[in-house]
């Protein structure tokens, strides 16, 4: 692993760090905010499961991004990741619920334009459709879960204290699953663009366990996400916890499970092949936004409760994000690649 590779990889690591800092709040925000789970426990569980998800289930979504555009030089990959990171940062500053996935897609298309490579519009439309399907599906799952759990609670007549204990365990398990799904689905955003240009080789441990080059890259990305969780997510988690205080821990559990299921559905190669083998319509493996899945689930529960608590302007802001994030990221990437190539004399694409 040479120094130049690490320098170029830094933009991806930064993107990973910011993803960890922001998205851990989607998994454990309410649980920590309502003091059902300690931050330390949440951070350790998230870190471990994000890395596991990234290394062992992260390749599916990454392949879809590669179909969209094979960023084939390190300098190009660096700028794609950096543009996405800067876009995410700017959107967060302007208060738009931001998606790292949308930013990276915009940046890859920007690279395609700059490099004169054709963009696979089939893949692009597949990805764009998931931006709408993801929150909608998350909302539908949340509605279903809400009615099931409410019925279960009313039927079971569990004591409040026992219910509290089960909810606590449920939040930890859901958080672990959520972290795994986040790692599996979103590692493509962080490291996907480096897959084609990575100089890493597979390594075999003394016990015969092997990590291939992509898994090794994803391990590094997973660690960067975990560092983001450990170092900065506390602040975001506190904000989410306070903002969503009206959510009960059980609702929080439903939101986390819905979001995690959606992320998992869009990342699981096993599920995709199972659906294909069964002759069912398969789910595209695409990195989706955990924040928007959370918003979808919250809106779903709002609808299930009668629709009085839905913050409709938020939907408008998400729609704004669907357009502005990839557009901003794509234009930024295009301009930055020009400077990187002409001012810093870096090869940003190979023919």
């Amino acid at each position: 692993m040479d120094g130049l590779f690490l320098i170029f990889l830094s933009s991806g690591l930064f993107l990973g760090w910011s993803l960890g800092a922001n998205d851990a709040a989607n998994i454990f925000g309410t649980a920590v905010g309502t003091k059902m789970v300690k931050f330390r426990t949440a951070a350790i569980i998230s870190s471990v499961f994000i890395i596991l998800g990234a290394v062992f289930a992260g390749s599916g979504a990454s392949q879809t991004l590669n179909r969209l555009g094979e960023v084939n030089t390190l300098a190009g990959a660096f700028m794609v990741a950096l543009s996405a990171a800067v876009s995410v940062y700017s959107m967060v500053k302007s208060g738009i619920p931001v998606s790292t996935s949308q930013a990276i897609v915009g940046a890859i298309v920007g690279w395609n334009f700059y490099a004169g490579k054709p963009t696979d519009y089939g893949t692009l439309s597949q990805i764009v459709s998931t931006w709408i399907i993801c929150p909608a599906l998350s909302g539908l799952i949340a509605i279903g879960l809400y009615f099931c759990i409410r019925r279960l609670i009313r039927k079971s007549r569990l004591h409040l204290l026992r219910q509290d204990s089960y909810t606590r365990i449920g939040l930890i398990l859901a958080g672990a699953f959520g972290a795994f799904a986040l790692g599996a689905n979103n590692i493509a955003n962080v490291m996907g663009v480096f897959v084609d240009s990575s100089p890493l080789n597979s390594i075999t441990f003394s016990n015969g366990f092997t990590l291939n080059a992509t898994q090794l890259l994803f391990l590094i990305g997973g660690i960067s996400i975990s560092v983001g969780v450990a170092t900065y997510s506390h602040k975001v988690i506190n904000t989410v916890g306070i903002n969503l205080m009206s959510m009960t821990p059980i609702i929080a559990w439903i939101v986390v499970i819905s979001q995690s299921l959606v992320l998992f559905l869009f990342a699981s190669q096993e599920l995709q092949s199972f659906l294909q083998n069964s002759g069912l319509p398969s789910i595209p493996l695409v990195p989706v936004s955990s924040s928007q899945a959370v918003i979808g689930a919250v809106i779903g529960i709002g609808i299930a409760k009668g629709g009085h608590e839905i913050h409709w302007p938020l939907l408008g802001r998400i729609a704004v994000g669907w357009i502005t994030t990839p557009l901003f990221s794509g234009i930024l990437c295009f301009i930055s690649l020009f400077f990187l190539e002409n001012v810093f004399n870096q090869i940003v694409y190979a023919d």
Binding site: T34, K35, M36, Y146, I149, R150, I153, R154, R157, L158, H159, L160, L161, R162, D164, S165, T248, P249, I250, I251
Partner: protein, 219 residues
């Protein structure tokens, strides 16, 4: 596995038991109050009344101890963080009803009111209504922890009985002031009637809050 499960829930099971015991105290005090009033009307401040009055005092002390332990356990074990304040409030409200039973029983003991026989039935009926109110509050409050759908049913019963108790106390006070008893005696009886009716009023206030807590508890 079994051991893990047992240790995981042992604390909550203990606390569940304490909460149940606490509600039992309200039922016990209400039942003893009914007995105490009957003894007083028949025997005035007899040994029997002194004994039952002491029993009620002990129940009140026990309830106080349980309330403190429930509060301490909820905080020290960081349980039900989202509903802890509501549960503490509920427990304190129920404790107020228990305290009121003890206070009224003690008032009878100290003041030794002279209750004319023609008011005995009305007085007993008012005391029974207040006790019934408290008993239904105990069931509603216990249901808050296990069976939300029953809370509304028993709360409704509290409202209905409290309404009856209000009407009963108004009639009794009217009847008291219509007699030729000395004014001091009338005022003393009036105050005692109001004290007994207050038990039902406090139970009603508890139920008001309990219904709000129930809405918050339902997902």
């Amino acid at each position: 596995m079994f051991h893990i499960k047992v240790s995981l829930f042992s604390h909550t099971r203990e606390l569940e038991h304490k909460i149940d015991q606490f509600h039992d105290k309200l039922l016990e005090v209400a039942m003893n109050f009914k007995k105490a009033v009957r003894i007083f009307l028949n025997e005035r401040r007899s040994d029997g009344y002194r004994k039952i009055s002491k029993q009620i005092r002990n129940i009140e002390h026990e309830a106080d101890r349980l309330r403190r332990e429930i509060e301490a356990d909820l905080y020290s074990q960081n349980l039900i963080p989202d509903l802890r304040a509501d549960v503490l409030h509920l427990v304190e409200n129920v404790d107020k009803v228990i305290n009121k039973f003890d206070e009224v029983t003690h008032d009878f003991y100290i003041e030794r009111p002279d209750i004319p026989e023609k008011f005995h039935n009305a007085f007993l009926s008012l005391c029974d209504l207040s006790s019934d109110c408290a008993e239904n509050l105990a069931i509603a409050s216990r249901a808050f922890f296990r069976d939300l759908s029953s809370v509304r049913d028993y709360s409704q019963k509290v409202y209905l009985i409290e309404n009856e108790s209000d009407t009963g106390s108004a009639h009794l006070r009217n009847a008291i002031f219509d007699t030729d008893l000395p004014l001091a005696n009338k005022l003393q009886l009036n105050l005692l009637v109001r004290e007994v009716a207050d038990i039902a009023d406090i139970a009603e206030d508890c139920v008001d809050e309990l219904l709000i807590f129930t809405i918050k508890r339902d997902i």
